[in-house]
Symmetry: C2
Subunit: 98 residues, 2 copies
């Protein structure tokens, strides 16, 4: 028998990561400060979760020059989209069983 939580992806357990993925799925491209403001996080907290999601290849980091400054933006990857959708399906299943 499959247990009810095995399709819940541990990489998305934290609410910060749920928030990052949700925002990136709705918005094509988001920068660091926008994520920080919308999720009301400190730099360090956001950076560590972004780095974890990047290592898993769930999000892709783009760095570009805007004038003399670098601008860093984030997009969700195809893999990230797939994994996050499966995670949401597992959550929905768990919620609907209640």
């Amino acid at each position: 028998m499959k247990n009810i939580i095995e399709n819940i992806n541990k990489a998305f357990e934290s609410r910060v990561r749920l928030g990052i993925m949700s925002i990136l799925l709705v918005n094509h491209e988001v920068d660091f400060n926008e994520l920080k403001d919308r999720l009301d996080l400190t730099d360090g907290n956001l950076a560590s979760h972004i780095s974890a999601l990047e290592k898993l290849e769930y999000i892709i980091v783009y760095k570009e020059f805007v004038g003399k400054k670098t601008k860093t933006t984030y997009k969700v990857s195809t893999l990230g989209k797939k994994e996050f959708n499966e995670h949401l399906k597992a959550l929905e299943k768990l919620i609907s069983k209640k």
Copy 2:
């Protein structure tokens, strides 16, 4: 502006805790081994999450004698029910925004 994750309760972030709470909400009273089997966990892993939920007073632990053995069962508390339902609402909101 309220951010999209602030109503997600950190106490329920872990999938193990989501699983424990879901099972306890549907079943009136569940014992340790049943939770362990249904969530496919080790004793230590389950015990640590139960202990955290008990400290928060989200679940109540009952110990009773069955013959010469003690039997430990768990129930969700009124507070636990309330908090978990709010957590699920916050998750549903996040999911539906996607």
